[in-house]
Every structure is written in structure tokens, then in C-alpha cells.
């Protein structure tokens, strides 16, 4: 039986089980004797084992079997010793790593080192902190590599009656021989994707057969993703002087080159790094699956049926030139389409809890490491968000939570993650009840770092001062902690939110905790845009990027340091020209200058356009090569008349012009 069709399902389900395992272990740590939790853990491991064995993923099956056995033992005693928690977690991490391998079509990594290890019986406090730290920082595959390094240590087989006072080899080797660990890390590097060009000698006899040998050699070196000519073409005897192949491999290019050059007839091998590997590698690859409830599917079918009926009614009305009937049916059709649109969006929504699952585990590891007592509260985890948005949020969310523990909370406190719908947006907030942030201190710091002059800093509102932490390289803690120098990651968080067409706000005051609020569109396939014209071309700006629009009397625009500025209440706002940013000829403004107020690097700026053409909802079409390489283009949309309108991101356009370089 061909199992490959079940592979995606296996992967997504097993990830869910792993998520559950992580959460259950953390729960268990708080109540070691909770029977139900132990039973639940056992069942999760058991499910993974069954699925993996069916799929023929031997190591995944073996490891989950091992964990299942261990948990079964705990079911008998009714208790999980605190000292085995780290071991369990390391096992879960290793399972996760195995899934990564399977997902990227690599052989499953070795689990031997883990299998021969024993859980620590009585680790000293300090050492266990160290374990947590390592688990946190090093992906499981490197843990394994390091542990193999430590095999010269005597390895005690699993035996409950023989306590193992020593720290597990993993920890010891990592601390004492970090150099070796470093070397190991390199040898197990993530696979790279690149293009290989292989040239055969002129007039090579049976070149197609030669080409097949080249492809076979490439297949031995890694995953041959595609090639030109491909295997089928070569079998058909295609001419073959040059072969281009896309290869995903962890082998060094040198080795591959050597092997290829040994093939008779191969005269030249060249490598081209893949700029597109972000799209084609890792977890994002291939056909994504999503589970849709059957009742939702039924509604699709019903709506489609109604639309079909509607089509006939439209035909009839048109043929009979019955305008009343036509108008009536048209409005019915548009209602049905709205309905369908709504339902389709529903189908793409996934609850936030899909990505919050690993947060309890992260908080637990972080609290142990920083010696703080941190409680995580989750509310609104059931709120649905478009899956694309959800995936892009995973890392920013982890970052905000880490920041809250690292910088917000001092000794003990609560980190609250909440989500709720706000019209067609979702608000996700990460709040802590820690020491809060001081706008004054941030202003001072901006001046100290030469990011702005004292008078510029003084003119920042408190809100804008807080946003300074989102500037690249800005940090508010004197000593940058190893988990998260605040500011190191906030620019990334801000960028991720912006890329999704969302916005980030920070609310904080000394002694009052901090709240990081992300407002995100429910769906990014359909967005609201502002249409403007610029040197005669229509362009779209996502409405999420527009604070407001202004029609400014041209005489209100002044020059300040050779830059155009205008007053907005108390604030002095710089004015840039969209035409100039796009390299288009400027159209001289008449009495009124049309301005889009937007934000670039946390600062309010005005963007001059020729005219406003209105707001609307637009279906965003993704851009293909090479349009996707142009900076500042987010997509395109097609107007009713067929006109293609590109969606521009003012921030990226202006940043790319380096308008902010010297101020």
C-alpha cells in the first residue's frame, strides 16, 4: 500500500500530539501525582507509536515506544519522579526533531544516545538549571551529537534501582568541552538548497546515459528536487551537455563536486546558492493541509447550489429583458457571494491555541533558568485566525513572552496572553505585571545611542518613545541577557506584524507592567486598500498602513533643513513624495496637497500622492518571479475593468530609499 498519501496527515497529527505531550509534562511537574495527566501522557505516546509504526518510521516508533514504556511504569507507581521530567522533555524534543527530518524527507536522526541515557535521579539544583538551559538553546539533533561525544563516559543502562548521581553526559560535555560541541554542531548543519550546474565534455558519447549517472550521483548526495533535463527527458535520450539541478543536502559542496568530477565525461561543476530556499525548505514546504469541519463543507455545497440557481435566474431575466427581476437577482447573488466569501474565510481560520501550545513549556524552562516564578495565563486561545497569519505569528509570540519574563517580571509575576476579535481585526496582547518601561529613560537612551538629537527625543510622545524599542539595535537593559536582549528581537516582531498588515502598540509605565498589543487582519487574502494615483498610475496602499488621509493647503508645507515638513497639531511631520520614492516624475501640487499619513520606523510621516481614488476591499494576488524580488511590492489586485494595481508598502519603499539614513 502506498503510504505517502498519509504522510502529511501523520506529520500534522503527530505535531499536535507532541504539543499535548509538552503541555501535559509541564502540568505534571506542578502535580506529579495526577493520575489523569499520567494516563493522558501515556495515551499520547501510544498514539504516536502506533502511527509511526504504521508509516514505517522506525526510529520515531522506537522512541515513542520507549517513552510509552517509561510512562507505563509511572502509571503503575502512580507518580512521576521530578527528576525524570527533564528526560521526558528531552525525549519529546527529540521526537519533534525526528518529525522535522521526516518532514524534510531526510532519514530519521539517531536516537541511540538518548535511548542509552538514564534519567537523573537526584540532580543538584544548579545542574538541573543547566539542563533546562541546554534543552532550551540547542536543538535536539545537536544534543544527540554532543551526547555521542560523551560516550567514553561510562554509560549506565536504564535501571531504576541504580541511582546515577552523575550529571548526564549531555550536560557535562556541553559545559566542559564546548569546543568539541561546536565542531559537532557544524557537522550536523541544516541542509542547504542550491543549484548545481554540471557540464559534460563536448561530444560525450551517450550523453543522456551520462546525464543519468550524474543525476544518480546527485541523488546519492541529498534530495534531488528537480533538474533540467530531468530523468524522464534523459531516458528519452534528450540532448545533454549541461545539467542544472536543484539539490537539498547537508553535504559539503566540495564532496559533491569531487564525486561529480569523478564521473567520466564531467568537465565542470558549478554551484549557485538558492535565494529562494526560504520558500522551498523546512516546514513551509508543499501542499499545506487544513482540517475543515464537514458542516462547513456542506454550507459550501449549499451556497454553490444557490449560486447555480441564481445563474439560471440571471439568464432568464436577461433573455426576457426583465430589469426588475435582474436587479433583484443580482442583489441576491451579491449576498450569496458575500456569504460564500465569509464561509471560505472561516475555513481558513484556525484557533490561536495551535501556536500557544508550546508557551507553557517555554515559560517553565525560562522560569527555572532565570529563577523567577512566572505564571502564564491564556485567554481567548479559541479565537480563530487565518492560518497564514497564525504561522507568521509563532515566533513573534514566543519572543514577546520571553521578553516579558526576561525584562518585565522581576521576581515573580504573571504573563497574560489574551486574544479577542475587534471587528475585522484580531487583537493579541502579551502583558506582564512587572516593572514596566520608562519613556523618559528610553528618550535618554535614544540620545545616548546617537539615534536622535535631545530636542528630537524631547518631542517624542510617550507612546512614540516606547516604540523606540522596536528600532533595530535598541536595547533597554544595560546588560543584554542571553535569552533576549530587549530590542534585539522587537524589531523583528514589529516587522512580522507589519508584513501581515497589522500594527503593534506598546502600553507601559514605570511600575505598571507592559502590554504589547498586536492588531492583525483576520485574513490576509482579502485586505482593505486605499487607492491613490501617482504620476498617472493607480496604486494601492493597505489601509492598515494608513493612519489617516489629509488634504493639506499646499501653502502649509514648509522647509526645514531642506526637507518638507508640515504641522499636525503639536507635531511636526516630514513629508515625502510617493512619486519620488518610486522614481516617477513629480506632478506639481495645486492648492491642495494630498497626503497619506503613515508610519515608518515608529515615526509618523506624510506621503504625498496626486489624488485619492477611494477605499475598497481587494483580493490580494501573490506575485511571481521576478516581481516578488522588487522591494516595496506586497502583491497586486485586479480592478473590475482588468486594470492591475500593485499594492505598495510605504514603509519598505521609504526605508529602501534610505531617507532616514542621516537623521
Amino acid at each position: 500500500m502506498d503510504m505517502s498519501q498519509y504522510r502529511d496527515l501523520f506529520l500534522s497529527e503527530t505535531r499536535e500530539h507532541i504539543n499535548n505531550l509538552n503541555q501535559l509534562v509541564v502540568t505534571l511537574e506542578q502535580e506529579p501525582g495526577n493520575r489523569e495527566t499520567i494516563d493522558a501522557l501515556f495515551r499520547e505516546a501510544h498514539s504516536i507509536k502506533g502511527m509511526a509504526a504504521t508509516m514505517g518510521f522506525d526510529r520515531t516508533a522506537e522512541l515513542s515506544h520507549h517513552l510509552e514504556d517509561m510512562l507505563d511504569g509511572f502509571r503503575a507507581t502512580g507518580e512521576v519522579p521530578a527528576s525524570t521530567v527533564d528526560y521526558l522533555l528531552a525525549g519529546i524534543d527529540l521526537l519533534d526533531g525526528l518529525l522535522d527530518d521526516l518532514q524534510s524527507n531526510k532519514p530519521e536522526r539517531s536516537i541511540d544516545a538518548f535511548m542509552v541515557e538514564t534519567p537523573n535521579e537526584e540532580p543538584a539544583r544548579e545542574e538541573s538549571v543547566l539542563t533546562a538551559e541546554i534543552l532550551e538553546e540547542i536543538p535536539a539533533e545537536e544534543l544527540v551529537a554532543v551526547a555521542v561525544e560523551g560516550e567514553s563516559e561510562e554509560i549506565t543502562p536504564a535501571d531504576e534501582s541504580a541511582p546515577e548521581p552523575e550529571v548526564a553526559p549531555v550536560v557535562k560535555v556541553e559545559t566542559e568541552e564546548s569546543n568539541k560541541a561546536e565542531t559537532k554542531k557544524k557537522s550536523v548543519k541544516e541542509p542547504d538548497v542550491f543549484k548545481v550546474l554540471v557540464k559534460l565534455a563536448e561530444n560525450t558519447p551517450a550523453a543522456a546515459a551520462r546525464g543519468i549517472l550524474v543525476l544518480r550521483e546527485l541523488e546519492k548526495s541529498g534530495e534531488l528536487m528537480s533538474s533540467k533535463p530531468d530523468m524522464a527527458a534523459l531516458r528519452g535520450g534528450a540532448p545533454c551537455q549541461k545539467i542544472q539541478a536543484w539539490l537539498r543536502t547537508s553535504l559539503a559542496k566540495m564532496h559533491i563536486e569531487e564525486a561529480l568530477l569523478r564521473i567520466s565525461g564531467v568537465v565542470k561543476v558549478r554551484f549557485i546558492d538558492d535565494r529562494r530556499k526560504d520558500e522551498s525548505s523546512g516546514r513551509d514546504e508543499g501542499g499545506r493541509t487544513i482540517r475543515v469541519r464537514t458542516d462547513l463543507l456542506d454550507q459550501f455545497v449549499n451556497l454553490t447550489g444557490e449560486l447555480i440557481t441564481n445563474r439560471y435566474m440571471l439568464h432568464t431575466a436577461t433573455n426576457g429583458r426583465d430589469w426588475d427581476k435582474l436587479t433583484q437577482t443580482l442583489s441576491q447573488t451579491s449576498r450569496l457571494i458575500d456569504d460564500l466569501h465569509h464561509q471560505v474565510l472561516q475555513a481558513r481560520l484556525m484557533p490561536l491555541e495551535n501556536i500557544t501550545g508550546r508557551l507553557p513549556r517555554i515559560i517553565r524552562d525560562l522560569s527555572r533558568k532565570t529563577n523567577k516564578e512566572v505564571t502564564l495565563r491564556l485567554t481567548g486561545a479559541e479565537v480563530g485566525i487565518d492560518r497564514v497569519v497564525l504561522e507568521a505569528l509563532t515566533d513573534p509570540l514566543v519572543h514577546l513572552v520571553r521578553n516579558a519574563v526576561d525584562h518585565g517580571i522581576e521576581k515573580e509575576g504573571v504573563v497574560t496572553l489574551s486574544a479577542r476579535r475587534e471587528k475585522d481585526l484580531v487583537l493579541i496582547e502579551v502583558a506582564d505585571d512587572g516593572k514596566g518601561m520608562d519613556p523618559e529613560q528610553l528618550r535618554q537612551q535614544a540620545v545616548d545611542r546617537d539615534l536622535m538629537t535631545p530636542s528630537q527625543a524631547a518631542s517624542l510622545s510617550d507612546r512614540d518613545a516606547l516604540m523606540l524599542v522596536c528600532r533595530p539595535g535598541f536595547s533597554t537593559t544595560e546588560e543584554v541577557t542571553e535569552t533576549s536582549g530587549r530590542g534585539v528581537g522587537m524589531d523583528v516582531v514589529k516587522a512580522a506584524v507589519s508584513n501581515l498588515g497589522g500594527s503593534l502598540d506598546i502600553i507601559s509605565a514605570p511600575g505598571e507592567g507592559s502590554r504589547f498589543q498586536m492588531r492583525l487582519p483576520l485574513s490576509i487574502a482579502i485586505i482593505k486598500i486605499l487607492l491613490v494615483s501617482c504620476a498617472g498610475h493607480p496604486l494601492a496602499i493597505p489601509l492598515t498602513r494608513v493612519q489617516r488621509t489629509l488634504d493639506l493647503p499646499t501653502c502649509d508645507i514648509q522647509l526645514s533643513g531642506q526637507k518638507r515638513v508640515f504641522r499636525l497639531g503639536e507635531e511636526v511631520v516630514s513629508l515625502y513624495s510617493l512619486a519620488e520614492a518610486l522614481g516617477l516624475p513629480e506632478v506639481a501640487a495645486g492648492e491642495t496637497t494630498w497626503v497619506v499619513l503613515t508610519e515608518v520606523q515608529g515615526r509618523r510621516v506624510g506621503l504625498q500622492v496626486d489624488h485619492f481614488l477611494g477605499q475598497r476591499e481587494a483580493f490580494v494576488k501573490a506575485l511571481g518571479f521576478p516581481l516578488n524580488l522588487l522591494v516595496g511590492l506586497n502583491g497586486a489586485t485586479v480592478e473590475g475593468n482588468g486594470q492591475v494595481v500593485f499594492i505598495v508598502d510605504p514603509q519598505a519603499l521609504l526605508e529602501n530609499r534610505q531617507l532616514f539614513k542621516n537623521d
Binding site: P205, A206, A207, A208, A209, I212, L213, L234, R235, G237, R262, I263, S264
Partner: protein, 122 residues
Amino acid sequence: MALRVMVVDDALFMRSMLKDIFVRAGYEVVAEAENGEIALELYQEIKPDLVTMDIVMPKKSGIEALQEIMASDPDACVVMVSALGQDSLVLEAVESGAKDFIVKPFKENNVLEIVRRITGQA
């Protein structure tokens, strides 16, 4: 241990030439066959490390012999020996599992390079 080679070709001339090349390189030529049928029998009996196989031979062609050898021993190491202009036959052979091919007329070095590559010997 020296590499054990079987040379299959209906022409004694070719067999001798290949044999000399292998002997000079320090390999042991453990068998010779003049058609596919004999080659198949000898292969089952001797299990050589490497076979060089002519394509056009009486009784059983090199490709048929190759296919049967591969069916009985998927790890078999067979190198085809073809003449110029037999591209489609070479293709068929490679698809049937031949590890590489040598095109006549060949040079000694050429043959040895190919053998070293596929046997993984330096």
C-alpha cells in the same frame, strides 16, 4: 584483497585487452565469458566484484544478461562496454541498473577511472 573482475565480450581481442588493463592495475580477472548466457551462469557461481559487459553478443545480449544479473543481485556492479552510436542501448542499460559505461574505442585510464569510481577504490 584485489578486486575480482569478470570480463564479458564475444571478441577475444576485447577480452584480452580489458584483461590486460585490469591485471596491470592489480585486479584479479576471475572469469571471462563470450556471451550473455555463459556470463549469467558464471556470475551466479563466482559473484565477482565487477563485471564489464559488452552489449551486442550472440545467444543472450549484454542487456538481457545485465537485467537478469540485476534481478538476482541488486547490488551487482556491472559496467557496460558499448560502441559509438549505441546511445539508446546504453540508455537502456543504465536504466536497467548498469553502474557506468565505457565507450569503444577507450583508453586504459578511462577504463580504470570508471572502475575506481564505481567500486569506490582509490
